[in-house]
Symmetry: C2
Subunit: 471 residues, 2 copies
């Protein structure tokens, strides 16, 4: 019976009758409607969750996944799908992960890309120095056959040296190549941090609002997440201090430079307070500095890791400064932590692609990436200002927001009774992807906010998209 | 006190007084020698294990790691290492992983490559079509900026299609692009299999002898490993059947095509028996087919996954057919399993490098990889035969072996009182890396066997190296 209900719901989702993001009826009310026991409906929802069609919980409600993570239809002429004859392990954390990440870290999973993704974290890929990258890759590949061999799980030395030099020069971080490991984007950095920090049952404090893909991997490794509020000065360190009096916390996961998703920069006093607090309690800090390069205020803000490298696992990425597709990130951490991370890396995927890593190292050595970052910084600050002007002149009665000191998006509060979900759904129908507040809330609260990215497209394209939002 | 002992041992390892693979004194005897409590020595060994200098257990003995996984010396002029002010999680399984994998899947971690790695799984990298790969990469990068964007966690469609076509054509596997996901080499395939199969406490049956990097990730995900003996027809299915009568087993991990490390091909009757047995007991089969291409006997042997795709998680790699450094592998599995794997992949590293995947897809479409595989097959079979001749004519009194039907190594039994460890250590001093029996034993038994790889180097170089082994 529950299979029949699940199948009917899947058919409704596939046919578009239940659209992405829409809420399924409560189990009680659907059971009453169908005249079945409530447990039957609960079982059907559990099955749909397991299959990735829906996400959520009985407490928060059940929602239709934005797009199936894997298309289900077999191409014509090939064999039909086989079903596993064995049970697949996996807990709610994994199942939740089947929910496409409606965040900076991702785009919709369907083959059909929306025309414009305004969710925030995508750089303008038209400007990436692709020809230079292709030349550098060719040189790396042809010069030494060792780039094709098994190698160092920490990443090629040349890239670690280039990254350390960049971090010393631009972020005041006292590190050498031995303090850096190269990862597959920041997500692998988060995975390695979670694997070396979390034992099942540990508590990780996170920002509320925050970055769901990080939450998901911490949970998958067995952590309980504890939300700490954020405000216009970043995470509320007093609230964290209160929490630490009552509860043992393993680590705190933060985005202090441009808080995700609110863009707040963690203030100086709070930084000092946070470092002292975490040191006193033996709490590790996982600092996710995903777009450090794109800071437009005149005074630079150094990472927490620059102040206290013994306390911080620092995660960076080249996804914003170069491109997400090259899958390169890095971790700076105390050396005994890095050693364990390298061992974990050996188990997860052995090592990176030395040819790509060598090519990117060359682009750093030649100053190519630095020039690109400068060009993009100019471009993005102009786009930010254009979007600010547009919103202030045309949509002043619809939205309010602070102009952030950096980043690639605005965090925009909707005035009146405007619903972020409704606007996002309306936008999605026009091929525009924009992140509504709920996606960034650990508690799943529907918040009247939108995160509007402006970096990836021309001022004109962004303006056109924003005008189509129906604000 | 234990720190002083640990430091002294580290100094001895660094200075080479305690050489790679050598056994540390028992804790009891060292405590007696030093006149300290035994717990002090136990603590010192635990510290060294945590730092990756040694591996093992009190039961099996403690051994010096072949090379530190991370070099410890800071480059001149940079800051000294910072120590973490927080505890790092991790269990023995991770610590063990810090032991460099003296197996096909790996090479020593030190910067100094041995002159010749004869451990078995490295293809001849001089012949890889590097110029064609560089051209294809350039085309992929310049043609569509989407290869630089966030994309499908399953891998680019073109490569999944190319892989499915190859698997249909050469391995009789009834699959389409929807049945394949691209991974970062076979190690990520193993990691994803472990993560979707294992719940803590589950039992995974493995071949004894077998592949340590697979064991390590299964253990890391919480599995208990159960050894099943192998003989000249592959894994002993009767022994597995006996085990299944007494014990609940979640999955069996196998290398049926060219058993790792013995090169035995699992016989036809055993294949049928195995599939029926696993189906009866609801046991998943993880089939690691790491060098399927290099089979030299006239009659092809199809994977287990060709016979019963609902029962098998099939893992393949391009590390042998192209090169380890490109970090590409693939999984074929039932679609609901693949869906969970894609969700896990999102958490671990989000997605692959679409430019590299597209480039390799083009090489498949052009037949470049297939031509390369044919060339390498001819080359490797000639190298196998040359090594067989050499061993039979010059070392007949020292070794005996069967000529395997495929693969890239010989599994050689040492006659008389020859010690595999002694020969491997002697070879290592001359810059030759060869795998002694113990490395492949789950129980850690010292076995009078060597795995000698012949694929990666010219007949002459292999002959020279083998003559230097001191057989």
């Amino acid at each position: 019976m529950f299979v029949a209900i699940a199948d009917a719901l899947v058919a409704a989702i596939k046919a578009g009758r239940l659209s992405a993001g829409s809420r399924l009826p409560g189990t009680r009310s659907l059971a009453a409607t169908l005249g079945v026991h409530r447990n039957t409906v609960v079982a059907a929802y559990a099955e749909l969750t397991a299959q990735g069609w829906v996400y959520g919980s009985q407490a928060r409600g059940t929602f239709v996944t934005t797009a199936p993570i894997l298309a289900d239809a077999a191409p014509a002429g090939t064999t039909s799908a086989t079903r596993a004859r064995f049970r697949v392990a996996g807990d709610d954390a994994v199942r939740t992960a089947a929910r496409p990440l409606e965040t900076d870290g991702s785009t919709p999973q369907s083959r059909e890309h929306p025309a414009l993704i305004l969710s925030g974290g995508i750089p303008d890929l038209r400007h990436v120095p692709r020809a230079a990258l292709a030349r550098a890759y060719r040189r790396a590949l042809l010069s030494r056959k060792e780039v094709l061999d098994y190698g160092d799980a920490r990443g090629v030395l040349r890239l670690r040296e280039a990254l350390a030099a960049m971090l010393r020069a631009t972020r005041g971080m006292p590190c050498s190549s031995e303090d850096v490991i190269v990862t597959r984007g920041s997500q692998q950095g988060l995975a390695l941090a979670a694997r070396v920090l979390v034992r099942p049952g540990d508590t990780i404090a996170v920002e509320e609002l925050g970055y769901p893909p990080a939450w998901q991997i911490f949970r998958r490794e067995g952590a309980t997440l504890l939300p700490i509020p954020v405000d216009k000065s970043g995470v509320d360190v007093d609230a964290l201090a209160d929490t630490l009096k009552r509860r043992r916390v393993r680590a705190v996961y933060l985005t202090p430079h441009h808080q995700y998703p609110t863009l707040a920069t963690l203030s100086g006093p709070r930084r000092r307070q946070l470092l002292a607090l975490c040191q006193r309690h033996g709490v590790a800090i996982v600092e996710d500095d995903y777009d450090h390069e794109f800071h437009y205020a005149s005074r630079p803000v150094l990472p927490l890791a620059a102040a206290d490298p013994g306390q911080v696992i620092y995660i960076g990425t080249l996804s914003k400064i170069v491109a997400p597709g090259i899958r390169l990130g890095y971790i700076v951490a105390p050396r005994d932590v890095l050693r364990t991370m390298a061992a974990e890396r050996m188990l997860l995927d052995r090592q990176g692609d030395a040819a790509v890593e060598t090519a990117v190292a060359e682009l750093f050595e030649d100053g190519e990436i630095q020039r690109h970052a400068r060009r993009m910084r100019r471009l993005y600050v102009a786009r930010r200002d254009a979007l600010v002007r547009l919103l202030r002149t045309r949509f002043a009665e619809a939205v309010e927001f602070d102009v952030p000191d950096g980043g690639m998006s605005l965090w925009v509060q909707l005035r009146g009774r405007r619903s972020a979900e409704r606007i996002a759904a309306h936008a999605a129908r026009q091929g525009i992807w924009v992140g509504p507040g709920r996606y960034f809330s650990l508690a799943g609260h529907a918040l009247p906010y939108l995160r509007i990215g402006y970096a990836g497209w021309s001022e004109r394209a962004v303006a056109h998209a924003v005008k189509s939002l129906g604000l």
